[in-house]
Each structure stands twice: as C-alpha cells, then as structure tokens.
C-alpha cells in the first residue's frame, strides 16, 4: 500500500515533481546567488576605483572592521527571526552595555585622581570587571526581552520597542548624556586596534562568534528547535520542545551578543558613545532578510546573513572610492532589501500552493 500516491507527486517524471525539485535546487542556490551579487559588487568597485584601490588589503580590512560589530548583531538577530521573533532593542543594549562596562572599567582601574591623569594602577582588574559587567548587562536585557515575550505573550516587536527606549534612556541617565571619558587607552591599543596575522582582533571576534552561531544553528538540536519554533510554535510544543524556555534563551543570547558588541565598541573607539547604534536594529534585520531569512520564521541560512551584513559597508565604501555620492548607498540597500522580501513572498506563496 502506498500512501504517497497522492496527486502526481510520486510518479517518477511528472512535471509537478520536476518543478518541485527545480525549486528546491533554486533555493539551495539562493546563497550562491548572494555570493555572486557580493562578488559582482567587489569586481565592479575594483574596476571602477582608481588603480583598483577597492581591492587593496587595507581597504578590505577596513570594510571587515566596519562590518565586525554588525556581523555579530546580525547573526544573533537572524536566529531570533528564524524563530519568528524580532529584537529591536539591540542597539540600545549595545549602548547600555558599553556605558556600564566603561564606567566599571574606569572606576576600578584607579582612583578618580589617578584616572584623570590617565594612570591606571589596577588596569587588569578594571578591564576584566568592565568586560564582565558589559556582557552580563547585555545578557540581562536579553533575558528581560525573552521573559516578557515568552511569559506574557506580548509581541516581541512591542516588548523590544519598550526595552529599546528604556535601555538607552538609562544609559543617558547614568552618564548624564555624555560619552564616558578617561577610558584606558590600553584596551584600544591591545584589542581595539590590534591585529593577528594582519586581521584585526575585532574581526577575529566577529569570525569566532559568527562561527559558533553558525554551528549552533545548522548542526545542533538547539538550531533545529529554533527552526521548528519559527515554523510553528504549536508543532514544536506538541513535539515536546519547551518553547518558552527556548525563546527566553534566544533573546538572552542576543543580549549577550549585544554586550560583546558593547565591549568591541568601547575598545574600538576608546569611549562609550551614547548617541551611536540607533540604526543597528534595522541594519541587522536588513542583513538577515537580504540573506534570505524569512520574517515569518522557520527559514534562513547563516551564510546569507553574513553576506547581507557585508553589503552595506561594501556599498558605502565602494561608492566613496568611485566617487558616487554615498547617499546612493541607502537607495541601493533599500532596493536589495525589497527584492529579498519579494523573493520570500513568492516562495511562501509557492509553498502554500504546493
């Protein structure tokens, strides 16, 4: 008895089956398509920039450095979107984390008088504590997002819009609206502008974090459950998955990543800048969606997100080098985003018909 003999799907060479296989192959190719788009950008910018300046190692390094923070945020945001969630608060959490981290760092590195003269007798303690506080603060905000979303069932859009405002507001209260001064230059000198094998430490950080998330998403039970929850929380729950706990952990992870980015940011710019990062949420969502992550959940590949994260900085950098007004970057980016959403819509419609 063959229960699969429904419609024409199981007969070997039926057009429906061929169409389906073709479609399946195309969507596997989607990542390849993105690689090609990024590759084309690189080739065009290299040809058009004076003496191929775009493809110089210095320029590539600068693009990678500009992308490192958003790469970490995009990877985390992508996991949340795969689970059909959303986190708008990430930029604010980065700011909050960097502020409390920097404050801790400065306060523990030496007495106020010493610090004012850039003398830091307890530098190691200060840096360790500062980093820990920043990361834990990020984790804390993430858990708040997760708990409110999972326990109350409030849409994450609303919850994280709230914490977006509260986190940055508190950061401003703590600092009196000023950037945190007197941060020991040692942090920047060693980590923020340091390199290993010609690759900045900040880029290494992004590579390692994204690599871990990649493995987590594609190879582990945690990743599979993330997809399942995004596809159908009901199905996931009935399969025995603790959907609430998983959701909380996802937002917690996102917060942790924002905390790490807070540290990266302080190290890079030697200050905790409270007016930056207002666009991080949209940039990260854009990266994920350009990369083929479905806003409806259940679909997305890390490679796509990584490429999506590189596109803004690549466009910005390339346009500057070939002398196109940088404003065009926004136009180009928005167009790519809309195209990505259009493809996702078509795919969903096709899935519903099939």
């Amino acid at each position: 008895m063959n229960i699969g003999t429904h419609g024409s799907a199981s007969s070997e060479h039926s057009p429906a089956k061929q169409l389906r296989e073709l479609a399946a192959r195309f969507f596997k190719l989607e990542s390849a398509l993105l690689v090609a788009i990024l590759g084309a950008m690189i080739v065009i910018f290299t040809i058009l920039s004076p003496s191929g300046e775009f493809f110089s190692s210095g320029n590539i390094r600068s693009i990678a450095l500009d992308t490192s923070e958003i790469l970490v945020l995009s990877a985390g945001e992508m996991l949340i979107i795969v689970a059909a969630g959303l986190d708008l608060s990430i930029g604010s959490v980065v700011v909050f984390s960097s502020v409390v981290g920097a404050k801790t760092l400065v306060a523990l590195s030496g007495s106020p008088a010493q610090v004012a003269q850039f003398t830091y007798p307890h530098l190691a303690l200060g840096i360790t504590a500062g980093v820990a506080v920043a990361v834990l603060a990020g984790l804390g905000w993430g858990l708040v997002n997760g708990l409110l979303t999972a326990k109350w069932g409030v849409p994450p859009f609303i919850v994280t819009l709230g914490t977006l405002s509260v986190a940055v507001g508190l950061a401003q209260v703590i600092t009196g609206g000023l950037n945190v001064p007197n941060i020991p230059p040692a942090l920047q000198n060693s980590y923020g502008s340091g390199q290993l094998f010609g690759i900045p430490w900040l880029v290494w950080t992004a590579i390692i974090v994204v690599g871990i998330l990649w493995v987590l998403l594609e190879l582990t039970r945690y990743g599979l459950h993330t997809y399942a929850i995004g596809a159908s929380p009901e199905a996931a729950r009935r399969a025995g998955i603790n959907v609430r706990l998983h959701t909380i952990s996802l937002y917690g992870l996102m917060g942790l990543l924002a905390g790490i980015v807070g540290v990266m940011d302080v190290a890079r710019f030697d200050t905790a800048s409270i007016f930056a990062h207002t666009q991080d949420n949209l940039t990260a969502i854009t990266a994920a969606v350009i990369g083929g992550t479905s806003l409806f959940g259940g679909r997305g590949r890390m490679l796509g997100t990584v490429i999506g994260a590189f596109i803004p900085a690549t466009l910005r950098n390339g346009f500057v080098l070939i002398g196109v007004e940088p404003f065009w970057q926004n136009v180009a980016l928005g167009s790519v985003l809309i195209t990505a959403v259009y493809i996702d819509q078509m795919r969903r419609r096709r899935a519903r018909i099939a």
Binding site: H6, S10, L219, L224, A235, R238, A239, I241, G298
Partner: protein, 261 residues
C-alpha cells in the same frame, strides 16, 4: 472482532475544560483498555479533540481525574505524555512546515552524533534520514523525498508524515484525531490497517476519532460517543448500530425513528 483484554490502560473521569464562557468538556468520561481500537465519535464541537488533547498533555483540564495503569497521572506538557508512551496525530497535524520529513519525524527526539559532541547537542542528520526511511518503509509509506520541506508535500503526504511519526514512537497508546479526513479511499484503508497492525503486532491501544461511522464499524472494538462535552455512550462496537450512535450523537429522534440533526 479482536478479543480485547479487560485491563484498563487509561481512564478519565469527570474531565472539565472551559475556554472562557465556552465549555468544551463538561465532565467527560473515557476508558481505554489494552489492545483495543476505541473509536471516539460526536458532532462537530462535541469536545473530541479537546478530550484527546488532555490525554496527550496538550491541554490541562480544569477538573477531573486521569489515570494510567490505575495510577493518577498529570500531564503538564506533551513531553510528559510522550514519556508515558502516548503519541498523537492531531487534527491539524502540527508539523513544522519548513523542516523536512526526517526532521519532523524526529523533532523533539533527535538522534545525536556519537562521541563528545553529543553532549553539545550535535545532531546526526544522516542517521535521522536513515531511521525515517526505515520507519516509513516498515509502515509501508512511500514519500517522494525526505529532503524537501513538508510544506511542499501534498495534504495526504503530510498526513502520512504525521501518522508515521506517531506510529513510529508510540509505545502504549496511539491517538488519531480524524486521521483520514484528508485522504483518498485507498489511503484511508491504509490508515485503518495501520491501526490494526499497531494493535495486533505491537500491542498498542488506539483512540480513533472519526466522522465516518462506516469506518468506526470497520475498525473499532469499542466506541464512545460525546455530546456537548459529556460522554453519553460507551459500548462494544459489535453491540451497537448506526441508528443508536446517531441518536446518541444528536440526542434527537424524528418520527420515522431515524436520528437527525
């Protein structure tokens, strides 16, 4: 008819479930014996799905007693029911549409890689694919591909995946909520025979919800009728007929002595 044992496997008494002002169950009783196929019938909205969701841990009742093997059981989540050996095909199937067949069959029970990476939850997709293929083959189910998302399967094929998952993992009780609603006659016959094999070959007890009374008479050992969230009849199927079931389901007799809604 298969001689069912008299040993009671699952017993539910006085189950109440309210959704706001809607009472889905108003003190329903149900008894499942070992090695029986027990049909659960009733009009739309009678509370059949809600009752089996209580058995599968998907719904927590407001009142009532649930016993497994004569011992009180409380299922706080579907996981608890799975641990007790209960597997369910829900009316709305409950598949993760973007995952493929093999992943859906193993969702929540993933096979892990060997070695230390297992501790980190690394999954073994190849083993799951192989296992899914074996399970489906054993059940006699053929699907065009294991690697396409189940959203790309036909309705009947999705039903097959849901049935296969439950049949593969069920150790004591198999619950099927209208499993043949989306199926062609040939496939319907297949699902009915699958229930029989589950009972005869693997010693499972089956709860089978159906709208189709001929199927009930074809497949079940006993039958329970729900009306407005209450149990109005439980009998060996051989000792009842369509008229009696319809009367119990609707509570109405017309002048010709035939039940009608």
């Amino acid at each position: 008819m298969n001689p069912t044992s008299d040993k009671v496997l699952l017993s539910a008494r006085g189950i109440v479930k309210n959704y706001g002002h809607v009472q889905a169950l108003g003190g329903a009783n149900f008894e499942l014996r070992e090695h029986e196929i027990h049909a659960l019938v009733g009009d739309n909205g009678a509370g059949k799905s809600t009752l089996i969701k209580v058995f599968s841990g998907d719904v927590q009742p407001d009142e009532g007693v649930l016993e497994i093997d004569g011992r009180p059981a409380r299922f706080a989540s579907p996981r608890d029911a799975q641990v007790a050996g209960i597997e369910t095909v829900y009316q709305d199937l409950a598949l993760a549409s973007t995952l493929d067949t093999a992943m859906n069959i193993h969702l929540g029970r993933e096979l892990l890689v060997r070695g230390p990476l297992a501790k980190l939850g690394f999954i073994n997709r190849r083993a799951m694919k192989r296992n899914a293929a074996e399970q489906l083959k054993e059940l006699g189910i053929e699907l065009p591909s294991f690697t396409i998302p189940v959203s790309d399967l036909s309705g009947g094929q999705r039903q097959a995946v849901a049935v296969a998952r439950a049949a593969a993992w069920g150790r004591r009780i198999l619950i099927m909520d209208e499993p043949v609603a989306a199926l062609a006659p040939q496939q319907t016959e297949f699902v009915l025979s699958l229930m029989r094999r589950a009972r005869d070959d693997r010693g499972l007890a089956v709860i089978f919800i159906s709208h189709n009374l001929p199927h009930v008479f074809l497949a079940s050992d006993r039958v329970t009728v729900l009306r407005h969230g209450q149990t109005v009849l439980t009998k060996p199927t051989a000792e009842t007929d369509v008229e009696e079931l319809l009367r119990a389901m609707t509570g109405i007799m017309n002048t010709e002595g035939r039940a009608s809604a």
